[in-house]
Symmetry: C2
């Protein structure tokens, strides 16, 4: 499936070309198995977080940009050694199909656009990295999975914590039985949302409020820390609708998860207070992370309380983003499923839908 | 209502008598406004925790003992300077009415006996301190309140955390607005329950499992940290009924509380893992206690995270128990309601009943 010879040549060519340009570091470090990414959406996350991370990658290069703002795209392209011919806008996006320098499309658009651009990318023959939440409905997720399958392309969701050293070490120790039988999982995730004009506060673009944005970390962690899928949820939402930030989307939503083993999960999502915390309690101790899923500064304790802080072994990449970006490349090269594939994103969306339904109906909702 | 002259004489006489005996410290420190307590039930808490605390009191003296084990009671009496004539058993308990050295009865019996002994004590003309949970049903609580009211006696519940310096400082800072508007309260309380033969694991004696014993700390804290009464609950119970400890009572029960201001409360009670934690998050910061409600070693942080640990000013008593014991004396002397009166215990029991009902029905239960 992968034309290694062509890839090698592209990688080598990219490396040589890049040496003469700013941002050469990324390409200079690349070995023969590198693939090229086009980042779609040059907003805070795409431009601020993803674009600079290619410098930390071993197998991933930034080779394309998709933006509605040509001037901005040109600035970014110049800074990161992306040829201007590899800049696209939303009108000509599908012609990316003809560009052999772009292997993967990284969708960093508002949530409501994830499905469309993932499907269009797959149809253009590109593998897809899609930011979380995967989409704004499980139906969209299913369509995205189907489109990538039909095009025989990989689909991965941007769950960076699965490549973050502290979270990985927490998972490993939970699975190794270091705290005995897990009994209770808890996670709160929140931050104080500011500007009411942000797309994240518009229902049509975001699909929901804090749960779609930050609470999904608690939900995903409930699953990766327990290694189980919930069988039922109960949720309670609390939003001050008179607050201009929350005219359209929820502020606080708390949800309880029931797991088959009997573990109880308790999660909180909020746009009105700051928290990034994960706790897994077992009958012989506990694992705690705080901050748990931030961009940096993660801390981990394992034991009876916070007496013993753990320094985890290095993660798979130089940074969590580098690990994430390179993982998809390796999955493509080795033709295997990403550890956080579309199925992983779909699972979260199905639970998110059940959470919203539970909060609306004020009743427990079972999960098939 | 209080005969100060008689009390003064009794106190003085007690002080003098006690000087010749071991345990004189308690009495030697007592000033003129002291009252005498009879401790009912010489089990782990009554004997292990309450009896020694009179040595730390300024207004409370141990003047009586009620036990089914005469030999044990005599040993304790000798050790603490209690005259043997002030030893009662459960058969002759009501004759305590004739003993002017006993002003207050402290009920430290299994939960199912709280109502009976509180009512009998009130009928014997004694004020009552009753250990938490106040009783095993709200109906019992109502009968206890009515009996004490009819006898014109004070009734206080042994909520020691209301006299514990760290918890008091946490409440004060919450009320002072130091973390802005409270948004979310969370508390987990649990320990690993051992011996399956304990009365606490017998439904008839305990009235319930971890919630009655340790989870009530989370519930009570939800109320004293927010300063609000919940309007609805949702609970989920998880118990391994094949575990010999849990044939009759629940292990884990998680409950969500809805408060009128919009604060969400999330509480966990468990008999299969250790935790003593309180968190109140506001839009400008958080207050955290851990261990929160133990016998010692309380820690408190106020701010964005755990950067700033707070050393609280001293509590009202030398210890939380001394503060608790002396508070009831002062309330009797000054004829005012204890801050944790029978009404406080009743409120918790009504919520506990709603929690159990919610867990059973798997549905949200509103609170009147």
């Amino acid at each position: 499936m992968i034309d290694f010879t062509r890839r090698d040549m592209i990688a080598a060519a990219g490396g040589i070309a890049a040496l003469a340009l700013p941002g050469a570091t990324a390409c200079a470090r690349a070995d023969s198995r590198t693939l090229g990414y086009a980042v779609v959406g040059l907003g805070g996350y795409g431009l601020g977080r993803i674009v600079p991370e290619f410098a930390n990658c071993a197998h991933s290069r930034l080779t394309g940009l998709v933006s509605g703002d040509r001037a901005k795209a040109e600035r970014v392209a110049a800074e990161h050694g992306v040829p201007t011919r590899n800049i696209y806008d939303y009108a000509n996006f599908d012609s990316i199909a003809d560009n052999p320098n772009i292997d993967i499309v990284y969708v960093c658009l508002p949530n409501s656009m994830h499905a469309e651009y993932t499907i269009r990318a797959a149809k253009a023959g590109k593998h897809v990295m899609c930011e979380k939440p995967m989409a704004i409905s499980s139906a969209e997720c299913e369509a995205m999975i189907a489109a990538c399958k039909a095009a025989d392309r990989k689909l991965m969701i941007g769950y960076r914590c699965h490549f973050e050293a502290t979270n990985l070490e927490a998972m490993r120790r939970a699975r190794a039985g270091e705290i005995g039988t897990p009994r209770y999982f808890r996670s709160e995730h929140g931050f104080v949302q500011g500007d009411p004009t942000k797309w994240r506060l518009k229902k049509a673009l975001a699909g929901g409020g804090s749960l779609m944005d930050i609470g999904i970390y608690a939900l995903n962690a409930a699953r990766y820390m327990t290694g189980e899928e919930p069988i039922a949820v109960y949720a309670h939402e609390q939003t001050d609708r008179s607050d201009p930030r929350f005219h359209e989307v929820e502020d606080m939503i708390e949800f309880q998860l029931e797991f088959p083993s009997g573990v109880i999960g308790s999660c909180m999502s909020m746009y009105s207070a700051n928290q990034s915390h994960i706790l897994l309690m077992g009958d012989k101790g506990r694992i705690e992370l705080e901050p748990a899923t931030g961009y940096s500064g993660h801390r981990l304790w394992v034991g009876r309380g916070r007496e013993t802080e753990i320094t985890p072994p290095p993660g798979p990449g130089k940074t969590q983003w580098a690990g994430q970006l390179d993982h998809l490349v390796q999955c493509i090269v080795e033709d295997r499923e990403p550890i956080v594939s579309g199925t992983e994103g779909l699972r979260d969306l199905r639970i998110i839908e059940a959470i919203y339904r539970s909060a609306k109906e004020r009743a427990r909702v079972g999960l098939a």
